[in-house]
Symmetry: C2
Subunit: 234 residues, 2 copies
């Protein structure tokens, strides 16, 4: 590289991850109780600094893996927070990501972090501007999921339509007509019906479906009008 830029300020740059999970009942976020400074003992998002030779995407994936042990997780950069005093220790610019994981694949992290799942409807006060980050991430998730088949990332490989519906209902805080819901969902052509049923939730049992991932790549935009007023979300 040539000469460096002169007379310019340089800042630490971090990524923070809002990790969403779904346990079949509630949409949840993963938080950690800080065992390190600053703000020891307070709850925060999982985050870390960007290293010299990695992009923000790489940093987010690395940090997420260190927390969950999982690789190749869905992640999406959604906003960069840059208020000069947002970090009380030193000015730090934070590139925020949200991630979607199957909560059942998550195992207790290597005890290095004290992590815990909280309902998106009831979680503790967070440090810095992390509460604002969570709120914006939640809106982005709602917005994106109206038109993109990303909520599947929160479910196991095999899932039933009633489970998918209750996930949507929890994400949007409403309820849907089951008939209309299943018709719309199936009309996307993204779901492959399996031969077995989940008998846990009812006597009749509900058929499992899998996401057709090939079709998914090319037709995620076919996810039409699942939610009445998507435009009010962003």
């Amino acid at each position: 590289m040539a000469a460096k830029y002169i007379n310019q300020s340089r800042f630490t740059v971090a990524v923070d991850c809002i990790v969403f999970g779904y346990d079949g009942q509630n949409l949840k976020i993963l938080l950690i109780k800080r065992a390190f400074t600053p703000m020891v003992g307070r709850w925060s998002l999982m985050g870390g600094f960007i290293a010299k030779d990695e992009s923000a995407d790489e940093a987010a994936a690395r940090i997420l893996e260190s927390l969950t042990g999982l690789k190749n997780i869905y992640q999406e950069q959604f906003y960069t927070f840059s208020a000069p005093n947002r970090d009380t220790r030193e000015r730090t610019i934070s590139i925020a990501y949200f991630s979607l994981i199957d909560i059942k694949k998550y195992k207790e992290p290597s005890s290095e972090y004290h992590a815990e799942w909280f309902s998106i409807k009831d979680y503790p006060d967070l440090i810095f501007d992390h509460t604002e980050m969570v709120k914006i991430a939640q809106k982005r998730l709602q917005y994106k999921a109206t038109s993109h088949a990303i909520l599947f990332e929160l479910l196991p490989d095999k899932f039933t339509l009633p489970l998918l519906q209750s996930l949507f209902e929890d994400v949007y805080g409403t309820s849907f007509d089951k008939g209309n819901f299943s018709r719309k969902m199936l009309s996307t052509g993204l779901l492959q019906k399996q031969k077995d049923k989940d008998k846990a939730g009812s006597k009749k049992g509900a058929f499992f479906y899998k996401l057709d991932r090939k079709h998914y790549q090319q037709n995620s935009h076919k996810f039409l009008k699942l939610v009445p007023n998507p435009n009010s979300l962003l």
Copy 2:
């Protein structure tokens, strides 16, 4: 502030602005021919480094004002670019914004920069990853404008429906039925019909409209289905 973070890398952080304008014919972007290093003589987006005490939003507004002389311009942060080698001189993370301005309010900048408008369909090679930035900004603009009344920012205070329609047509690269277009647009309740007409474009003359900015704040989400397949855009 307390002690600083130790052993962490620090980087220069910049903002880059994609400035959109509309001259009644074509959607355009404002580019500058660099009179400074690195990449002297090449075309690039307008950008600059974030100063010690300002947020990215503030930096973007400052930079935009220095280029156009205009304040209170619509601007929206849309993505942060962080590939380690994106800047050839020194690793720099760039927070990218797009802005919408009324091209007629723009006057030649204070000669400090050699700036020029280019059609979004035909503009020169840009330095670094700026071409990618422009492409992503264009997509974001298209996506956002399907559900938010932001394209008005590109027009004068008073504008006609035919002008608005040709703007939409240029942004989306299609044509719309004028009857359906005007009905949908008026049904949002965002437009206030004026008493005078623009006689420039036709013999009959087209009524001017103004944006009802109060209504706009609260009902920008009423901007429904102006474009056939918005979901394929993001």
